[in-house]
Each structure stands twice: as structure tokens, then as C-alpha cells.
Symmetry: D2
Subunit: 337 residues, 4 copies
């Protein structure tokens, strides 16, 4: 429910209403503006009805929030959110480039990858240390020992670090060592994990599930936001369809659609979204053109030797070429890199 | 790798090989048979090659396991597995009926549901207390307080209980109170959860992810088996397709296919698989006919009032009618109920 | 629109209304019953409103047809339709078996196939002579010369023949030589073809498009029915999904759903629906159990040598085994074979 | 099979080989180049083997064409094809804009639509007169009487016309009146229609089937090319997936993939590809960025009143805005408008 106060409403008027909302165990939002103060009330429709605010003399208008995603939708929060990863931004006019290998394989390779992506101008570095793999017999990541490597990368290249969390019991140690946590496609509806990271303030890089509808995707973000963490970056990474020529079908419709419905920044992962190195550059440009706020690109010093996802990883010179092209194109789409 | 010993091989010969396998940190399986002893070795192909067992004089034959799912496949384990939930069986010639409401809503409703399904002849009772819901504003289950209700149902109706686990930290308390744990569709690739339940011995009712391929489904079971828990029941519950007339598309192809490739019992959930009450009875019969080992059916004393999934739940008389029909049909498909 | 006349309404009353309907260029249906006469009027909603029949004293009730498929739906036509292929029936209590090779390859193979399926008890024979193939370089069928072979099969084994039509200009010559025309999955929305066969009275075996929704499937049948041909048999043959272990995903949900919504008989094609010979028998039983009215099974004397679809074809002894099992099971599902 | 001649090979040498190819009823291609002459031979692999050209002294190299699509693939034909619609081009550095209403509803609306799109700078005009509609009760197009309207539009605005063909018997009259024929998504595998238009030389605008794989799409083009018509423009128009927020999922992966594998120009239809007017502009830009050769955009003077597809049509000012943006962006992607 969106409650728009009259222009002469005072802070006390607002507090009165906020107390009433909280008194019914509803979630409240206080959004003072230049002209009007707007208050949000989120929760069970039947309880919302008990607020009976239409009669309050300082209330100008009461509107129902129609979409299922109340907090991440634009109905209550019109302007684009900007989320910070370390001291870099995602959203607004900043086009953010996050890059690195699929998995951290060794200190040496991690440093070499970080050198490549940093020199080419990426804003942040990614690399998995806990890998959710389809087969129990595939490389599962370095685990805890990878944390030290991520720390070493961060120190040497002064780059923010993003890495995937798969176990709520890893939250504390990861939050100490990385700048943003990725929730992978397979865990997009792992609500226990969503609520756990929602209770921290660390930025969350939330990837769309491989067969999640846009509504389910936004509701997953709503879980995190509703648990208290507003620092959410959405990431479209391709959906599962009948097509087999490409690994997934990158859904750029979803990016344009979400940008209209939600204030959260949306990045695109053309590496998983296509599964084919030679499609990463054209789809990266398309993501910029469609209105995305950034890219997640898999880069590896020697993709042929990568322990996972080598087929879709760029090497150093390919990544550099991509960055150079994007830097020229971005301003034509109202973005800077 | 499957190692078939010669018929004159001794227990000492087998132990020698088993030690060698374990010495390389590979997983070993010891399967003594009436005529021959068979030994399994599972792990990285390059390490398996180091075993060099062809030269061992007590070895008759060494075969590679071709499928990706080594332990749950039939290559190494030909015969159907039978899994027990409480003192009831799933698999072999037993057609198992698991029924109850989607969610435990209250003690009264739980007892009434249990009365209905027990009287009609169901073998076990199900009801969720931790519910993974798409929206954070939907009913999330009773949580821990539901455990007492499940215990009360179990005592009163002497029926085994199956309930869904969504958090590894709930494992201990749930294992004390229920007879089998469900892993839901959304968590089918939550490998942290799979490995956690794999370390217990409690039977696992593993539902197929809504867009999981058959191979991914069997590899999820492989995670559990490989962690040490052989008590796994697979459950086909419909996949996500373009069709919107039904909630999901129940994939009975998958049941027949899995019965050929895996020794694990396979149950079918026509309630989620169709989403429409009036399709539950015909699809239940089809599941029996295609070779499934049982059914998971949502039953509610008053489906119209159910807090979740009412549209697909049978009421008491519909469930009884279904049970009566299945009891007559089952013997024609080599099953008893 | 469904117009139910009063029990004292005369034939003249009905004719008056029928004339009025036809005068507005709407489609009329006259359905005299034992107790009441029912009249249907199909067409543009705005024109229907001009009928203004509520005021007519011999009219008991006027009801809108809610579903988009007016003529093939059960709202206006409650009872199951029975369609005849030659002198065999499809629908009602008859479970119809249509079998034969994917393509007619030669007279010899066609006769041998017909011998196999006839001896095992199939009711009709199928074989394609015009084959719509994905690649222009694949075997495209024998074309016109195949018609003579089909005639020879019909004479020798006294079996009705079903064969696919792909070109409206073939309609006349095919209608002379075969007993029913198949519209294949790729042509399910070839409305020119649907209307052309709709103007004949030859029975149509309409296969579901590989990504057609149930509604689109029934509307394709509506095109044929609306053009004047009521002899339509629907055939579920598997839909295209993300799953790659099987060629298609046989959608038995759709069979149960359509049986509730439409009066037309529904057959199932487990050969294309699975793409794997070893799944044909279990899925055939499931189709019987779910309420289908028959099966279309690909049978070939020597599947390994078949020019198309060999992987999914049964050989003679497999087909015979299937028939024997179905004959025993059918009565338990209210059907005879 | 690709046969590369030595640089001293004469026209007679080439003719000798071409005769040999044709003598075996294989399809031949003669491609003289500045440095080398290349000859293609297409057909059954076993017959190709009989050519035995490796031994011919004027042959430098013989290579097998690996892809299934021989003629439309780049293996034999490296450079981009450019197809002309009227005197406008599609392909190469020309970004082609084809626009107009879904259906021709009246002369007045057609002229008004043409005025809008012509003034804004579209290169060609589209409008359907034979409409393949899911329901037989929906507006089916004006039929033959629409041809005169299309002719009137062409004369008044001097614009090439593209319109959909659904019946092979309409080919002659349509070819006289329009500049290119559209094959719609539902007819993409109507091989009778593909072969019929393949025997003419009129440019074909071939839309991807709604669940056609990329390979099936290219093989549909191969049917047309193999029948003799090289003037083919491919059009990606969105595929059917589980997502329901948008009408289809526009598959820009496919555009980038096809541009690498095929020499044919590829256009994109963001109107059907999204189904939502407000997504047409961002997805149009994305199509340009990903490497497409043009756009097909639905424009209607008053979308709210359109008899079909109004929800996805731009009005005049929206189309003009899109054109203005595209004109500025195109040169950054190596294209002119």
C-alpha cells in the first residue's frame, strides 16, 4: 500500500502512521520527498485493510500496490537504485563490468586473470571457490582455501571481489573477504539462503534461475529486500529452452521488461547466456543497447585449459577488444564505463 | 569401474582390491553375489586408470561405467532397490501411496487429513511445515511448531511421516520426528542440502526440479548416494513447458526411462504434475501403468479452504475412490497396494 | 451460443430459429434430442447478439459458449463422438490400434509390415508416401507411386489405410485411395490445408503440433469441423521441451484434459512421443490408462534398416507382445480392442 | 562437397567437372573467383563419393561440407548475401526497415500506415491480406481484395511491398503484385509451400517457426535455395518458452549464431518477439547491436483499434522516434539506414 501524505503533513503525522503500520506487524517504508512524503506499508492484504488511512486528514491518497513484488517494483520506488560493489557503482549511468574465471583454480591463475581484466578496465573481479556442479565427480572448487586467493587478488589489484555463496554457514567468512555475494541460478529459489543474505548488508548479485519466470525472479529479489538488504543486482543469464545450438537462450526481453517494472540494476551474463565464446561480444553489445546496467563476462588466461566453462570464456585479448568496443559505444546509450 | 572377480576369488582377494581402491581415495563398493563377487570403484577416470587391475589374476573382467550416474545407475547395480519409509516399502512389487495436505495448517486439519488417507489405505502421510513459497508474502508453513503436529499424527494413526527439509540446520530435529525427508523441486540442485542429507541414513524423497533434465535429476540422486545414503526415492512431479492449460507437464516418459537406467524406486506426483484435481485420477492410473513404484497425492479435507494448492487437492471421497480403483488395477501391472 | 428449446417446441419453431441464424450468416447446428431440441449458433459475438432469442416464446434458455472451441467442445456436444476409419471405429468403448511403418519404402516392405500388424490385431494400417522431412536431402517418400502400394495393401489385408497429406492439390487422389488422412504435426496450423480437408468428409487424423498448446490444437480441429467435416480424430504425439533424453515429451496430461473438454476421440502416438523403442510399450499402457481412445504405433519388419524413424519402431514380435498385453488390460479401463 | 580448382584450371576443366556432377543428378554450383574457381556439389553422400575428383589433375582440394545446410551455410559461400526487395537492399552494410500494420484492414488505413512509415524512412511496407489465425472465428484478412489495396499503396508511396503467402495457389497473383513474399512462422515447415516459392525468383522473407531450432530454420531456407531461389531473408521473431510476461522470447543468440553460420541476411521482428509495444524500441536497438540486417516493425495509425496485434504495434510518433534513434546508432555498428 502506498500512502501519499498531503504537502502540509509533518514528521509527526508520518510517525503516527508509521507506528500504526508497525503496530500491525506490517513492514513500513518512509520516503520523504521534496514535495511530498510517501509511506509504504507491505504485508497481508487483510491486515492492510485494518489501517483505514483514507480517513486520516494528513493523507492525500492511498493506493494499492498491484504487482506481487512490492519492494523491488517501481510502483513504490520510481527511481533507479544504484548499488555499490566496493567503491564501484552498478546502476544509474554507470555500466559495470564484472569479469574473471568461472572457478578459482590456483593463486597463479587467479592473479593472471585479475591482471588481464583489471588492465582492460573491468570494475570488479569474480571467481568461484564453492562451485555447484551438476555431477558430484566434477571439480567442486577450492573451497575455503580459495578465500586467501581472493584476498590476495583484491590486495594486489585493488579490485572489488564477487564470489558465489552456496551454504548459509559460509556467510560470515565470505562477507569478511568479498565485496558482493553471488546467488547462482540453481539457488535462486533457495529461500533459506535468500533470507540469510537478506539479513546482511553485503551486496547480492542474484542470477536468474534457468527456468524462472521474470515474476519468480523479482520475487526472489523481494525475499532479500524484505529481509532487510536493499543492495541487490539482478543478472539475466539465459533461460532453458528447446534450442540446443546455444547453451541457454539469453532473454534480453526480460532485461527491458524488468527495467520498466523494477528499480534494481540489471546486469547480463552473455557467457552462460550463450555458452559460446564467439557469441559473447555481439550479445554484450546487445545487452548494452537493450538497457542493461552491466555485464558479467567469463575471462580465463587460457580457456582451453579451464577446469570449467572454458568453451564460453574469453581470453585476454578478446576481453580487451570487447572492452574497447564497449567504451566507445556506451555513451550512445547514456552510459559510461 | 566395475570389477568382476573370478569364481574362485576369495574374500582376501576382494579385500586386497578394495584396499587398493580406497588407497587411491576412490569410492569402493563391495557386492558379493552367489556366483561372482563384483567390486565397484568410483571416482576420477585418471585415478581409476592407475588401479591397473586387468593384470590381477583373480579379476575376470574390468568394465567402464558409461553413464554419468555411476551409483544410482543399473550398470553396477542391476536389481531394483527397495527403500523403506518407516515399516512400509517403496519399490519392488509394492506400489506405495503417500498422501496428505500440501501444508500442515493446524493440528485439527492434520489429524483429519491423516484419518482420511489412512482409512483409505495410504501407506504414509505427508505434510509440509517449512514451505518454500514463490512470494515472501505467502503462507510459509508453521515451522518448528509443526513438528509436534506431525508427531501427534504419527502416534494417532501409526503412519510413517514424510516432510520437506529446506535448511540443513533443521536436519537433526527433523530426522528425529519424521520417517523420510522430502527434497523439493526448487532444491533439487541445492548440493549443500543434498550432501547434508546424504550423510544421514534417513530415506530421501527427491523431487525432480521443474526444469531439470533426467540426467541432472539422476546426478542429484548421485550426490546423495555418493555421500553415503542409499535410501533414495525419486519423484517425477511435472516439468515446466510452454503449456499453460495444466500447471506442469507430467513427464511419464521420464518414469519409464529412469526405470530402465536406474535401480532406484520412482514415484509420481500427479497433483503438482497437473495442477488440476480432475486430472489426478487419470494420471495416477497412467503412472501405475507406465511402471512407477507409487504416488504422492495431495489430499485435503476441504480443498477449497486450503492455504496452498487447493486447486489440485483431492477431498476425502475422491481419494477413497482413487484408492479403490488403484487396488483393483495394481495386480495387472505386477504390483500390490 | 446454445439455444435450448421448450419441450413443446415444434420442428417449425426450430426451423424458424435456424433460418434466422443462417440469415445472419452464422453457422447453425440442429440437435434434436429425446426430451429437448438444442440449437447452436456459432460466429461473431456481435452478430450473435442480434439474434435476440431470449424473447422467443419457444426458447427455454440461451447460453453463451465460453470456450474458444465451440464445435469440438463439450459445451454444445456432451457425448463422445465416434469416428469410423473404413469400417472400424475410434472412440466410445473401442480402443483403436493404427500401425505400420513411418514411410512406405517398397511394395514388399509395405506388404510385410501390413501382414505383421494385421495378424497381431491392428485395426488399420498407416504409412507415409509424402514425407515432410526437416532436410531437403532426406528421403521424401515415394510420392504418387506409393498410392498403388497402399491400394495393394488394402486389398490384400482388407485393412483401412491412413496416410499423411501435405499438399491440398493431392486431396482428390488421396481421398480415392485411403480411408483417413493424417495432418502431421508440422501442418497443424496450415489453415489452408485444414480448410481444404474440412470440405471433404474423409476422416482426419490430426496430430498435435510439436509446440502447440492444447487450445491451439483444439482450434485447429475447430477449423476442420467448422469447414464441414466432423470426422476428426485428435492425436497427442509429444511436445517439444528442454528434455533431450527422449525425442519429445509425451503429454498425457493433454489427453486427460482434452477428454474432459472435447467430444472428439483422442489417440496417442508413443513412437514419436518418446522416440525410443523401449519406451513405446510402457507409454502405450499409460495412454490406455489415462483414457485415450487408441494408439498410433510405428512398426517395421526390420527397424534397423528403416529409412526414417527406425530408432522408435517396433519389430513384429515387439508389436505382437504389445497387442497381447493391451488386449488383456483394455477391459479394465472400459475399452475393447 | 567443395571442389577448389588449381589456379591454372580452365573454364573447360570446370565444365568437365560440372557435367560430371550433373550427370550423377547432383546439384552443382559454379563460383569463379579472382584467384581460384570453386565448384560445389550437393546431394547424397554416397553418390558424391562416386565423383572421385581427388585424382583430377586440375583439382587442388576437395572438402566435405560438414553442416546440414549446404547452400545457405558459409562453408561454400563465405561472403554475405545481399537480397533486394524492389530496389532496396537487405544485407551488407544496409540496415533495412520493413514496417506496416499486421493486417490490411481497409484502403484508408493502409494508405495512412504507409504514409507514416514512409515519411519516417522505412524502406518497405508490409501488411497481411491472408492471415493465418489461431481461431477460425478471428479476422482472416481481406483476401484477394487486399491485393488492390497493396497495389494502391505501392503506387502512391513508391514503396516495395511485402505480404504473407499461405496458399501455393496464390503464388502467381501475389508475385505480380508484391515485391517479396513472407512465409510465416506457422508455415516454416510447410515444405510444399517452401518448394513452390523456391521455384520462383521472388524474394522470400522467411520467419522462424515458433519452436523451430536454428538448424531447422536454416534447413527450411535450404529447401527454398535448393529449389532455385537464392533471394532469402531470414527473420527471427521470438520463440516459445515457459515465460508468459512477454508473448515470445526474442532469441538474439540465434541472430549472432546464424550470422556466423549462414551468408543470408537476418532481420528481427521485435513486435512479435516481445508482444509488448514498450519493449519494441529497446529490443530494436539490441537487434542492431547484435548484428542483424534489419527490422520488421508493426506500425498502425491507431493501435488500440487494430483488428489484430494492436498490443504490440507502434503508432506513428513512436515509429518515428525509433527511426530517428536508429539512424544515429546504425553507423556505430557498421550499418547505414
Amino acid at each position: 500500500m502506498i500512502i501519499i501524505l498531503k504537502d502540509n503533513a509533518t514528521k509527526e503525522d508520518a510517525d503516527f502512521i508509521l507506528n500504526k503500520i508497525e503496530g500491525l506487524n506490517l513492514k513500513s517504508l518512509y520516503m520523504p520527498g521534496v514535495e511530498r512524503t510517501v509511506i509504504g506499508a507491505i504485508g497481508d492484504e487483510r491486515v492492510l485493510a485494518q489501517l483505514n488511512l483514507e480517513a486520516n486528514p494528513c493523507v492525500e491518497e492511498v493506493k494499492t500496490i498491484l504487482s506481487k513484488y512490492k519492494l523491488v517494483g517501481r510502483e513504490i520506488h520510481h527511481h533507479d537504485s544504484v548499488v555499490k560493489i566496493g567503491n564501484t557503482e552498478v546502476g544509474g549511468d554507470q555500466f559495470h563490468i564484472l569479469s574473471g574465471p568461472c572457478a578459482i583454480e590456483s593463486l597463479e591463475l587467479a592473479l593472471e586473470s585479475a591482471r588481464i581484466v583489471s588492465q582492460a578496465g573491468a570494475h570488479s573481479f569474480r571467481g568461484g571457490i564453492y562451485k555447484p556442479r551438476t555431477s558430484p565427480y566434477s571439480f567442486q572448487g577450492l573451497g575455503d582455501s580459495g578465500l586467501e586467493i581472493l584476498r590476495a587478488v583484491k590486495e594486489k589489484y585493488n579490485t572489488p571481489i564477487v564470489s558465489e555463496i552456496i551454504d548459509i554457514n559460509d556467510l560470515e567468512k565470505m562477507a569478511k573477504n568479498v565485496d558482493a555475494l553471488q546467488i547462482g541460478a540453481r539457488n535462486m529459489q533457495n529461500y533459506v539462503l535468500l533470507e540469510a543474505v537478506g539479513k546482511s548488508k553485503i551486496p547480492i548479485f542474484l542470477k536468474r534461475g534457468m527456468s524462472a519466470t521474470i515474476e519468480e525472479f523479482l520475487l526472489a529479489a523481494e525475499y532479500i529486500y524484505n529481509s532487510g538488504n536493499e543492495n541487490i543486482i539482478l543478472c539475466e543469464r539465459g533461460i532453458r529452452t528447446f534450442e540446443t545450438a546455444t547453451r541457454n537462450t539469453l532473454d534480453l526481453n526480460a532485461v527491458a521488461y524488468i527495467k520498466q517494472k523494477s528499480h534494481l540494476p540489471v546486469m547480463v551474463d552473455p557467457s552462460h547466456g550463450t555458452g559460446l565464446r564467439e557469441l559473447v561480444i555481439p550479445l554484450s553489445k546487445a545487452a548494452l543497447a537493450v538497457g542493461a546496467d552491466g555485464l558479467m563476462i567469463e575471462t580465463h588466461p587460457n580457456p582451453v585449459l579451464a577446469l570449467s566453462d572454458g568453451r564460453q570464456s574469453l581470453n585476454g585479448s578478446q576481453f580487451e577488444k570487447l572492452m574497447n568496443e564497449l567504451k566507445i559505444l556506451a555513451p550512445h546509450f547514456g552510459k559510461k564505463i
